[in-house]
Amino acid sequence: MSPFGVLALLSWLLPTAPTFQQLPGIAIERRLADRHGLSVGDTVLLTPKPDRPAARYLVEAVYQPKADPATALRGEYQIRFHLPELARLLDAPDRVDRIAVRGRPGVPPDSTAFRLNQPAFGYRAYPSELIAAESSRTFAVVSRFHRAIGVISIVASAVFLLCIMLLKVEERRLDAAVMRLIGISRATVFRAFVLEATFVAAVGSVLGVGLAAVAGALTNWVYRRRFETSLVFSHLSVEIVAFGVGLSLLLGVAVGALAARRLVTARPLALWRRAG
């Protein structure tokens, strides 16, 4: 337990009539206060187990917990106690779950943890970075899953883009034939079609970024309401935008070049006939 114990309520919670006697104070999180209509000054009955007698507490504060992806999706409510009060409620005096230690400046946490672990019985010391890495393993898995889904989506959109660009340029067979017949060089025709493909890919990319921004905002709005949290579920970073735009431009230009090459290498009269 940290200086203020944190208890995920497994049992029940009832607001009761205000009392003037000195009661132990607790802080409750805003979601819980909203859900049960509690405010500062109210008294509540708390018990760790349904078959144990309840104790009366005074709501001294309503707080907004820091958004934490590890707990937000569980939807559990939290109450903060003064440590001795929670120990008394749980009937577990002189016991803690965790102790946070701040080292002196310049002392590496690894060496402190190592030194603490040498004579250790009943506890194990870890540097905060290690705990953070371990506790984020779940999110690392989710992140890998998202990346895999992202790769599949990119393949699907790349094929889609290939089809469209190929058709778009092939549609221009007649134009290519006319340009070639009036004496415009192959290189100029090629550049013109590649430029057109680049323009289409660029406009499509801009629209795609806009669509992604709208979809991301919608996702955040829905999930923030659903889980009553301020967490960011969808984050459109500059790197992601650059990757998406870069990839679509690259594909667009490559496919445009491929299709344009087919047009300029064919004989103008053959193109004319096929276009007709």
């Binding site: 187990k49 349904p50 699907a156 089809c163």
Partner: protein
């Protein structure tokens, strides 16, 4: 004639046709994966819970089985009461606690399960012999535990319990013999677990005087009586949480709502991509061949047949794409499943992508129907082309 024309039209542009089929296949693969993801977790979870036929779980009040370290106190009278119920076939108490064994000069910590060998729904025997009813000196071990401790069948093991945190000495020790290697159904991948007689593990665990159990598994004689029996147990024992497997699946579903929503969103996107792909390609193809359709109409081919011709083209594209998508989807599902099942602490028996015939058929049919529907607009364009104007424009 229709099918011959369709095949000829598709073969005329092989690159285009292959790209469209590839696009549909990827969209269908994503759709299939998402259909599997949406229902697979629940089916897998339900299958895991029912694998030994126990339909009801009793756990400490306010908790789900193995969800916390809480225990049900005074379990013996509850067990006796359950065994007296004529609707109940078997009652299997389970106690989970930390146990320790000396391996060389270090201490290995394992998860110890106390079970009633006559009614256990916790593990399946892989090699050796099972614990016999009343066997208070036998031990079954998981493969990872056997590998970590170097145990073999017939080895003698000193199980230690209630380790003093200050001196690292065990308050109690029991000598047991390894009878078999088992697969614990609810264990995470690589979890080191052992199983022994319920009373033996109680004596090694915390607070043996309160007669604790972590969970009780109940097998009801008739499946249609499960809910009634669960309600009856809950009414008779208000200090325990009573859940049927169906109720546990509902709880599980609420925890995995994120994946269900994600699968719904991505499945919708993949369907939209498939529809757009087929619709766009066929619309452009129809525009290119509008003169051909006008000629067909001019020589007396009915509009309905033109519509059938274009829609058959869409059907062939989506049909072939859907078949490719099923194959691709099954391959990618294995890869995605390997990622998600690496969640820390997840039972090894849980699978997120369960390839079932209904899921595969549903995804393939959805893609096919969507693709055929998407070819409706280009088919309508082809059928309504004015014959004289189109032919004149084509001639010019």
């Amino acid at each position: 004639m229709t099918w011959a024309l369709v095949v000829r039209s598709l073969v005329r542009h092989p690159v285009r046709t292959l790209l469209v089929i590839a696009g549909i296949a990827v969209a269908a693969a994503l759709l299939l994966d998402m259909v599997m993801l949406a229902g697979g977790m629940e089916r897998s979870f339900s299958r895991m819970l029912l694998s030994r036929g126990y339909q009801i779980r009793l756990s400490p009040k306010g908790t789900l089985p193995f969800d916390s370290e809480a225990m049900i106190p005074a379990i013996t009278p509850i067990l006796e009461d359950l065994r007296d119920d004529p609707d109940i076939e078997q009652v299997g108490p389970v106690l989970a606690t930390s146990l320790h064994v000396s391996v060389g000069d270090s201490l290995l910590t394992v998860v110890g399960y106390g079970v009633d060998p006559a009614a256990q729904g916790l593990y399946e025997l892989e090699s050796g012999t099972d614990l016999a009813p009343g066997d208070s000196t036998g031990l079954v071990v998981s493969e990872p535990a056997a590998a970590a401790a170097g145990w073999r069948l017939g080895d003698t093991v000193r199980l230690q319990g209630r380790l003093d945190p200050q001196s690292a000495r065990a308050a109690v020790e029991r000598v047991v013999v390894v009878r078999g290697v088992v697969r614990f159904l609810y264990d995470a991948r690589g979890q080191r677990s052992v199983g022994a007689d319920f009373r033996l593990v109680q004596s090694l665990g915390r607070q043996p005087d309160v007669d604790p159990a972590s969970m009780v598994m109940v097998k009801v004689r008739a499946d249609d009586r499960v809910d009634a029996v669960a309600e009856r147990i809950a009414a008779a024992h208000r200090t325990v949480e009573v859940n049927s497997v169906a109720a546990l699946v509902v709880q599980f579903r609420s925890r995995l709502v994120y994946f269900q929503q994600l699968s719904l969103i991505l499945a919708t996107i993949s369907l939209v991509v498939g529809v757009l792909l087929v619709g766009t390609i066929l619309t452009i193809t129809v525009s290119e061949r509008i003169g051909e359709f006008a000629v067909l109409r001019g020589i007396g081919v009915r509009r309905a047949r033109i519509v059938r011709l274009v829609m058959a083209e869409g059907a062939v594209l989506t049909g072939v794409g859907a078949i490719g998508g099923v194959v691709l989807g099954l391959v990618t599902a294995r890869y995605l499943d390997a990622i998600l099942t690496s969640f820390p602490g997840l039972p090894a028996a849980i699978s997120f992508f369960v390839p079932e015939r209904t899921a595969i058929a549903r995804a393939a049919i959805a893609v096919f129907v969507a693709g055929v529907a998407a070819s409706g607009y280009p088919a309508w364009l082809a059928a309504r082309a004015p014959i004289a104007e189109t032919l004149r424009a084509d001639a010019e």
